[in-house]
């Protein structure tokens, strides 16, 4: 009670309230810079490297880490460090693409289900549940395998099995929001539903969507590498991290660095994104209403 009386008269408490927002902004800024840096390294890092990712050098096969090859070379004499940098484009970029398309699809389906009447809701949600019933990787292996192992088919398969969590989240959040007082006010004030959706629903779903999306992104990296490792994803000689692991598996005893570095790259990347996502969720507050699955 006393706090509110203070709030009415003192500017300081107001500032305190915004401090949280500033924290968040600073964090988002840092996160953005970090992501940009990683993307810059992943996309232009190979320019710094004197080697090409896919050109073999048979004189230097399976050489251990040295000054010339920081992380060693693989069975065809290709520089592992260079290939790891290239692999970043594949793993991070493809996962970004997949989750982005999935998020857009899921958001649209969730909004339609939440706003366009009972029939649409029932049909779309049963459809979502049906898709949800397939373990992601099993469905992806089947689709990618039946269509023929290739990068494009893997991307298609992962998009097909990845949109449901977004649909569920968006639906439940938007149904919750529609009954919030400020949306009721907007409706009473005669705002058209599209504007309500755009101005009142979407911005308030955004933070939760972002948290879910970081989660999906890191999971997608694991899926891509996993599928490639099983031979259903990115095909050799492309330097995807999972595909590199598959290469390295055969030389595990003689040249373990072939499989250690790509795996470590996956682990670190996923870990970093997960931690960023956790921090993001903490900062955005405990208003995460159900995360789909």
């Amino acid at each position: 009670m006393t706090f509110q009386i203070q709030a009415e008269f003192s500017e300081e408490t107001d500032l305190q309230k915004t401090k949280h927002g500033k924290d968040l902004n600073r964090f988002l800024f840092r996160l953005g810079v970090m992501v940009l840096c990683v993307l810059a390294v992943a996309t232009t890092g190979f320019l710094l490297s004197p080697y090409a990712p896919n050109s073999p050098d048979f004189l230097n096969r399976l050489s251990p880490p040295s000054e010339a090859h920081w992380l060693g070379t693989d069975q065809l004499g290709r520089d592992i460090a260079t290939r790891l940098l290239y692999g970043g484009i594949w793993s991070l970029g493809l996962a970004f693409l997949i989750t982005f398309v999935g998020a857009v699809m899921g958001t649209m389906i969730g909004l339609v289900a939440g706003h366009f009447g009972r029939a649409a809701d029932v049909v779309l949600m049963r459809m979502t549940d049906s898709f949800f019933a397939f373990p992601e990787l099993i469905a992806a292996v089947t689709i990618a395998g039946v269509l023929g192992p290739s990068t494009a088919n893997m991307v298609f398969a992962l998009i097909l099995v990845g949109w449901m969590k977004f649909a569920r989240l968006v639906r439940s959040l938007s149904i919750d929001l529609v009954h919030r007082d400020f949306v009721v006010q907007a409706r009473l004030n005669g705002l058209p539903s599209t504007l309500i959706l755009w101005r009142h629903i979407l911005p308030n779903i955004g933070p939760s969507l972002l948290v879910l999306w970081t989660n999906a992104w890191s999971r997608s990296i694991l899926s891509i590498s996993g599928l490639s490792f099983l031979g259903f994803g990115v095909q050799p000689p492309n330097a995807e991290w999972g595909a590199m692991l598959l290469d390295g598996k055969a030389y595990m005893q003689t040249a373990p660095y072939l499989m250690i570095f790509p795996g470590a790259a996956i682990l670190l990347c996923v870990l970093a994104i997960n931690l960023a996502g956790d921090r993001l969720r903490d900062l955005l507050g405990g208003n995460s209403v159900g995360t789909g699955k």
């Binding site: 009670m1 509110q4 009386i5 709030a7 009415e8 408490t13 107001d14 309230k17 915004t18 949280h20 927002g21 919030r180 007082d181 400020f182 949306v183 009721v184 006010q185 907007a186 409706r187 009473l188 004030n189 005669g190 705002l191 101005r199 009142h200 911005p203 308030n204 955004g206």
Partner: protein, 268 residues
Amino acid sequence: MLRVENLGVRIHGETILDAISFCVQQGQTLCIAGESGSGKSSLLRALNGLLPAEFGSLAFHPKSSEPTELEGRWRGVRGLPGSRWVMQDPIAALNPKLPLGVSIGESVFSKNLSATELNDAVSDALSEVELLPELAVRRPSEVSMGQAQRACLARALVARPDLIFFDEPLSALDAIVQKQVAATMRRIQMRYGTTFIIVTHDLGFAATYADHVLVLRNGKIEANQSAGNFFRSPESRYCEELILAARELGGLPEVVPAKQGPGEARSC
């Protein structure tokens, strides 16, 4: 100007409101009192078309907008034209992602004002409720509860409505701020002659501000009297107890002061 007759609302076969009839004159204040769950808020929702009315009729004749007349089953009306609604929790009633000014401006969305006209209208409304126009760029999380409730009041005012519904407008605020906001409400009513329909459970508030009192209990009308009559000789036993309880708690003075204001208690 607002006349409701025999209104009934049923949800999932359960009767929420039954045979509600009352009317309000221009410039008067009607307080709707009752314990929680008595149907006060449901009545407000039904009047604004958020709950389907099972039967009954409604006639609303504002000075400056088209009249609304509804009968039988009605639902899905987007509010009554010429009326606005100020809700209980100002933080919930404002989009946390929008600056206050935009939220306030939405109230006159249908008037298609130009950007400068809209800006002026919002600034005027803000100063009307004793807020600095600079507050228009702040978000709800960056203002105090009192400021937020004033912004909600400004959102109602900017449309120059003839009728404003209030749903427990002060209960989210602490005592000092309550007093200030109530004073602002009173001033606005004096100036524009706006009709107020205020849902409250605070009889002390009703005693000070109401011209007319409507008491609900279990969805039925328990009393429908002018304020003076209500506090002197309530219509039912239940109301007597209600008044007595409020007196014992000290929220209600022994002698209810006569209300000063434009609207003399007239029967209708």
